[in-house]
């Protein structure tokens, strides 16, 4: 029997500012190349959110971020799907709104979805803009058949500082860049967070273009966890990763 997979890009009309729509496209292709019957749905914010196996939430501006959070809370589908085991990749503004609270344009706290135990506040220092290199923690999840996630690479662009609570775990330790900004004085310490099948990160790139192992982790989760994913020819991704890792910190 062919495995089936419904991938949903959440509200590209509100959250699509940083090329993060690419994450959905990458997941769909990596599934299709393995013979998995994957459908990719662009879910507009004026319709009920469809049920899916894997959701991608992208980055966006302050106003649309607040509207997206309110819509998703009122809609309820995403929380119900996650409770049933659906996987989520949430990036930047999307990462912030999957947490407990995040700041609006004026800095006031807005309720998030609470899918990740993280809380974001407005940073006091400079906006975090630039290349990020972060080493996954030993406790971080691992794609089936692999010993952990390889080093993460991406580009960040955010003002918020995110604290990871006891109900979630940081995804990685920052080697270069800012990430969550949860170090002393809003400096670098950890990057991203995860719990269950939900991953949040500040990394653009989009993140899955530069970290195909993370894409395969999400696909594995969405397929039920025990489906062996055959390896793909990722030489071009590896060349991009090698170049980005060697360049980070040189500018």
């Amino acid at each position: 029997m062919t495995a089936r997979l419904d991938i949903v890009v959440v509200y590209p009309d509100l959250l699509g500012t940083y090329g993060d729509g690419g994450n959905g496209a990458i997941l769909a292709r990596r599934a299709a190349w393995r013979g998995i019957d994957a459908t990719l749905v662009q879910a507009s914010s004026d319709r009920p959110l469809p049920r899916g196996d894997l959701y991608c939430i992208g980055g966006g501006e302050d106003g649309p971020q607040v509207r997206a959070a309110r819509n998703l809370v009122a809609d309820g589908t995403l929380a119900a799907a996650v409770a049933d085991g659906a996987a989520v990749l949430a990036v930047c503004a999307g990462y912030q709104l999957t947490g407990r609270a995040f700041p609006d344009a004026s800095g006031r706290a807005v309720d998030g979805l609470g899918l990740l135990d993280v809380t974001t506040v407005k940073g006091r220092g400079r906006r975090a803009v630039g290349e990020v290199v972060a080493d996954p923690l030993p406790s971080s999840p691992s794609p089936a058949g692999r010993a952990g996630l390889p080093v993460l690479t991406g580009f960040e662009n955010h003002a918020g500082r995110t604290a990871v609570g006891a109900g979630a775990s940081p995804l990685a330790r920052v080697r270069h860049g800012i990430g969550n900004g949860d170090g002393p004085d809003g400096g670098a310490a950890t990057e991203g967070a995860w719990s269950g099948h939900v991953v949040g990160t500040y990394l653009h790139g989009p993140v899955l273009a530069r970290n195909p192992a993370l894409a395969d982790l999400l696909l594995g989760w969405a397929l039920g966890g025990d489906v062996a994913l055959e390896p793909l020819d990722d030489r071009e991704e590896e060349a991009l990763r090698a170049e980005r890792l060697s360049r980070a910190g040189r500018r």
């Binding site: 993060d20 509207r67 991009l240």
Partner: protein, 430 residues
């Protein structure tokens, strides 16, 4: 205004512009225009306003098409057979230092046409009191530097709200963000110039509602406030220009692509709306269209250069809207029977390009499937991964010169699409 009419501080500042320009030209550092303008503004911060006094100034801004439209507007304001007497920043130095340099370089010009970076429109409007402001379009560009396109629209709106009828705004009625900003002005000529990229305008800039385009017809409207496409004085039709929603007149444009027909129409309407300058009356729309019909190349865009024995047609695309417009052009040409030559795509992510090339994923490269593509530029590896997921066959070559040779192996000419610094380097043969 002549130098003699300026105060001593401004005369000193103008002198500094000239000295700095000469020095940086001798040192071989670019055209020197920006360095000189910066030196002048440091001595006299009001230099731009003083240099603009007594001149008619037209301003052109927008995310895409600024340089082309500026150049076409200069042509449209220049009567056939007469020498150009218009001050303009043709080098694309579109911030105040570049504007100062342009005005200093043409002390006798009673008319100026200035291309303005979107973020500097408010300052230019305040400093130069323009008779015409051309607003082309607004979409995402260089995300690590210009954070929110809606903030730009708000700044435009504020800048125009203070202007009386002496400033005519020529605005693209098909762009909701432009419409939102231009609505605040007293005098507006609405032009239906089309919109390549609608993704940034889905949220209503006025009320946060939703802008709908599916209501039938070519229009758009917000579903929760009164922001909607205004009736136009001129709009692109299949075979020309539709005037006041009725009669269609012919339009000939040598520059390729629908987006250049849009630039040409915006320039022609702006020329017709301008005030007389230096005894030269504004052309009629028909005269303006005739003057720009034969322009075939602007600042190297669409020009053919020979590099390493290969003839390459150079096309510039800086952001998703710009890339989409060029892909539209390639489709148009393929439909009209032009053979599709090998394609070189060159992408950098230097400071002038923006350091984050994530926008590659907003460009519908899937449309290149079936073409022969060579990826090059500083960020060719990002591009290669993007093309892999778009299922476009490609080879990757980090060196642009060698990429051109590869693409030209078959002996014919090649098409090149490059973003800002990659385009500049190819054009200058670096």
């Amino acid at each position: 205004m002549t130098a003699a009419g300026l105060g001593w501080r401004s005369r000193l500042a103008v002198g500094a512009v000239r000295v700095a320009n000469g020095a940086s030209r001798r040192l071989g550092q670019g055209s020197g225009t920006v360095a000189g303008g910066r030196a002048g503004l440091a001595i006299d911060p009001s230099l731009l306003a003083r240099l603009a006094t007594g001149r008619r100034v037209a301003i052109v801004s927008g995310t895409n098409g600024k340089t082309t439209t500026t150049s076409l507007l200069v042509r449209a304001l220049t009567p056939a057979g007469s020498p150009t007497t218009v001050a303009t920043n043709t080098t694309g130095a579109n911030m105040p230092a570049g504007h100062v340099a342009a005005l200093v370089a043409s002390p006798g010009a009673s008319r100026a046409v200035l291309e303005v970076d979107e973020g500097y429109l408010a300052r230019l409007v305040a400093d130069t009191v323009p008779d015409v402001v051309v607003l082309l379009n607004l979409s995402r560009d260089q995300l690590d530097r210009v954070a929110e396109v809606r903030m730009v629209a708000d700044a435009w709106r504020e800048a125009l709200a203070g202007r009386g009828p002496e400033t005519v705004v020529v605005a693209n009625a098909d762009d909701p963000l432009v419409t939102y900003a231009a609505r605040a002005a007293t005098s507006v000529r609405w032009v239906g110039a089309g919109l390549v990229w609608g993704a940034d305008a889905v949220g209503c800039p006025a009320c946060g509602g939703r802008v709908r385009t599916d209501s039938g017809g070519p229009g758009w409207a917000c579903d929760s406030c009164d922001l909607a496409r205004p009736p136009t004085t001129a709009e692109l039709a299949d075979d020309g220009v539709r005037l006041d929603g009725g009669e269609v007149v012919a339009m000939r444009v040598a520059l390729p692509g629908r987006f250049n027909r849009a630039n040409a129409l915006m320039a022609a309407v702006a020329a017709a709306a301008s005030a007389p300058a230096g005894g030269i009356a504004a052309p009629t729309l028909t005269e303006a269209l005739e003057r720009i019909a034969t322009v075939g190349e602007v600042a190297g865009r669409f020009g053919v250069v020979r590099r390493g024995g290969v003839d390459a047609r150079l096309m510039l695309a800086k952001n998703p809207a710009g890339w989409t417009a060029i892909l539209d052009l390639l489709d148009e040409e393929a439909r009209s029977g032009r053979p599709s030559p090998p394609l070189v795509l060159a992408v950098n992510a230097r400071t002038a390009d923006g350091h984050d090339p994530s926008w590659l994923w907003d460009v519908p490269y899937e449309r290149l499937a079936g073409r022969q593509v060579v990826a090059t530029g500083d960020r060719c590896r990002d591009l290669a991964v993007r093309l892999r997921y778009a299922e476009v066959d490609h080879v990757t070559d980090t060196d642009p010169a060698s990429a051109l040779r590869r693409a030209g192996q078959g002996g014919g000419s090649v098409d090149v699409i490059a973003n800002y610094t990659a385009f500049r380097d190819l054009r200058e043969g670096r």
